[in-house]
């Protein structure tokens, strides 16, 4: 074991992991996090704490992760390269480990032009791949990016994102392999709606030996309405929503119920794909959907077994 994280243990035991997402508030109230955590508690192995997601300023992922730990849950702290240089990142990584955070998801981050501070300087001193390698070296060296010795290594289970739906498609599995070479232990994918394409991506991952060296959690998300399905299809970069899903959402009488059903069906399909070690449920600002999805999919968190 590299980190003492529950997620690492669950995956090492070969159990199917369930993670979800918890976005910090646009304010300083810890109660918002406590309320969201209470909805997700008992239904997940760990929860991702987003880092200024879509470049919108929010409470820091490290602080929110600590509050989640106080609720008896395990956080996966997200860290993007957009807002900090390597000095700030390394001090935050050491601080996070000192606070008991054991999972770190390394991301490049959405461009600042998407968010509410489009005039901000985009830092991007590192990118996701060089961030991963830095964290790996901090843990296993243990050393800083500059080569200086670290006196007490941060014990972290290192993750990344992978998007099977971005271009060029033949490069997506190669890019994930690159992140594995850099040092990740697990990855969570972009939301899967087109299972066929995801299957092909997973086949490429197996061919490259990625699935033997990295636990892959398939990203899923319940659609709330036909409008959301259309928006995801047409407006969100790197998303692939098949027409049949959009049509199904449009035809549904109770679109929320249908959205959960679609999500459960996707979970049931990806579970059968060789190399899929768990699911990551992204019900952003709809945390209440998570217990319903896990119930209908018959999923129990690996840590609860």
């Amino acid at each position: 074991m590299k980190s003492g994280s529950t997620l690492e243990q669950v995956l090492a035991d070969g159990k199917f992991a369930v993670t979800a997402e918890l976005g910090p508030p646009k304010g300083a109230d810890p109660q918002v996090i406590i309320d969201k955590a209470n909805i997700l508690k008992g239904h997940t192995d760990a929860v991702n704490i987003t880092d200024n997601q879509t470049a919108i300023a929010r409470m820091s992922s490290m602080a929110a992760a600590k509050i989640v730990i106080e609720q008896g849950m395990e956080p996966i702290m997200q860290m993007t390269c957009r807002d900090r240089n390597r000095l700030a990142m390394q001090s935050d990584i050491l601080g996070a480990a000192a606070l008991g955070i054991r999972n770190l998801l390394c991301l490049t981050g959405d461009h600042q032009s998407f968010g509410n501070h489009p005039q901000a300087l985009g830092v991007f001193d590192l990118d996701s791949v060089t961030l991963i390698r830095m964290v790996r070296d901090m843990r296993d060296g243990p050393q800083f990016q500059c080569g200086d010795e670290i006196t007490f290594a941060p014990e972290l289970f290192i993750g990344a994102a992978a998007n099977p739906y971005a271009d060029p498609f033949p490069f997506r599995a190669v890019r994930l392999a690159k992140k594995v070479d850099a040092g990740i232990d697990f990855c969570q994918t972009q939301i899967v709606y087109s299972v066929d394409k995801f299957e092909e991506f997973m086949r490429q991952c197996r061919e490259l030996g990625v699935t033997e060296r990295c636990k892959i959690l398939a990203g899923v998300a319940p659609l709330k309405s036909a409008g959301m399905a259309k928006y995801m299809k047409n407006r969100v970069a790197g998303m692939d929503v098949p027409d049949e899903v959009v049509e199904r959402m449009g035809a549904a009488e109770d679109s929320q119920d249908e959205g959960i059903d679609v999500c459960v069906e996707i979970i049931n399909r990806v579970k059968e794909i060789d190399g899929v070690a768990g699911v990551h449920i992204m019900a952003v600002e709809w945390e209440a959907a998570v217990p319903e999805i896990t119930k209908r999919a018959g999923l129990k968190p690996g840590s609860a077994e």
Partner: protein, 222 residues
């Protein structure tokens, strides 16, 4: 070349209104080639200012001249006689020009008429696009002769990121994904496999981030 575009007239006027005798100084190098701050454009700006000031009842004078290169002492020093008696030098050069004027004529106020924006390539007539970030550590041999520092919105060294779709960048459908271009270029040589090697981290100390830079040509010390 260095590209620069003229500030909106209202912004320039807000500055020039505070001064009586103005010298508009054009530059006949980069900004002349990009048709924004050469002799013709400097004269146009000067006459626009004269007309406006006449209308507004502001006295004084607006003269103009253009030098070959506003980034070299000898050309800037050569206009001393025309600068004499002026309250403001309004430069239509890239930002180097007004800075050098401020240095050579310390008693005269200086204002830029331009916003300097990039080291650009002439994509087609009257269209320039950013190609170089002057990072001081050129690595484009590894990326098919295409610079991701200047041309990727996130200066990635391990792209394309998850926001690349259909050859376009996530920030705008008008922006090509430079990492798709790099991938295609390497694939045309059959060496796209090189992209499985980890790039970076970048040494930003060689860029402006390491502090203002000075270049000296060996063997030509003064």
């Amino acid at each position: 070349m260095i590209t620069a575009e003229r500030k909106p007239f209202e912004q320039i006027k807000a500055v020039t209104d505070q001064f009586e005798n103005i010298l508009v100084v054009g530059c006949n190098t980069c900004v002349a080639v990009c048709l924004t701050g050469g002799e013709k454009e400097a004269e146009q700006l000067a006459s626009q200012l004269r007309l406006q000031r006449q209308k507004d009842g502001i006295g004084g004078s607006v003269e103009t001249l253009t030098v070959l290169r506003q980034c070299e002492n000898e050309y800037v020093d050569a206009i001393a006689a025309q600068v004499e008696g002026k309250d403001l030098i309004l430069s239509t050069a890239c930002s180097i020009g007004p800075q050098l004027c401020a240095d050579r004529y310390p008693k005269v106020r200086v204002a830029p008429a331009m916003n300097t924006n990039m080291l650009g390539m002439v994509k087609q007539h009257h269209v320039w696009t950013e190609y170089c970030a002057a990072c001081g550590d050129c690595g484009i041999f590894n990326t098919g002769g295409i610079c991701p520092i200047a041309r990727c919105a996130k200066t990635l060294l391990n792209g394309p990121c998850g926001g690349s779709q259909g050859g376009r960048c996530e920030i705008s459908p008008d922006v090509p994904c430079v990492w798709q271009q790099i991938y295609d270029k390497l694939a045309s040589f059959g060496i796209e496999g090189n992209l499985s090697r980890i790039g970076g981290p970048k040494n930003w100390a060689k860029s402006n981030s390491g502090g203002p830079r000075t270049m000296k040509k060996e063997g030509f010390e003064p």
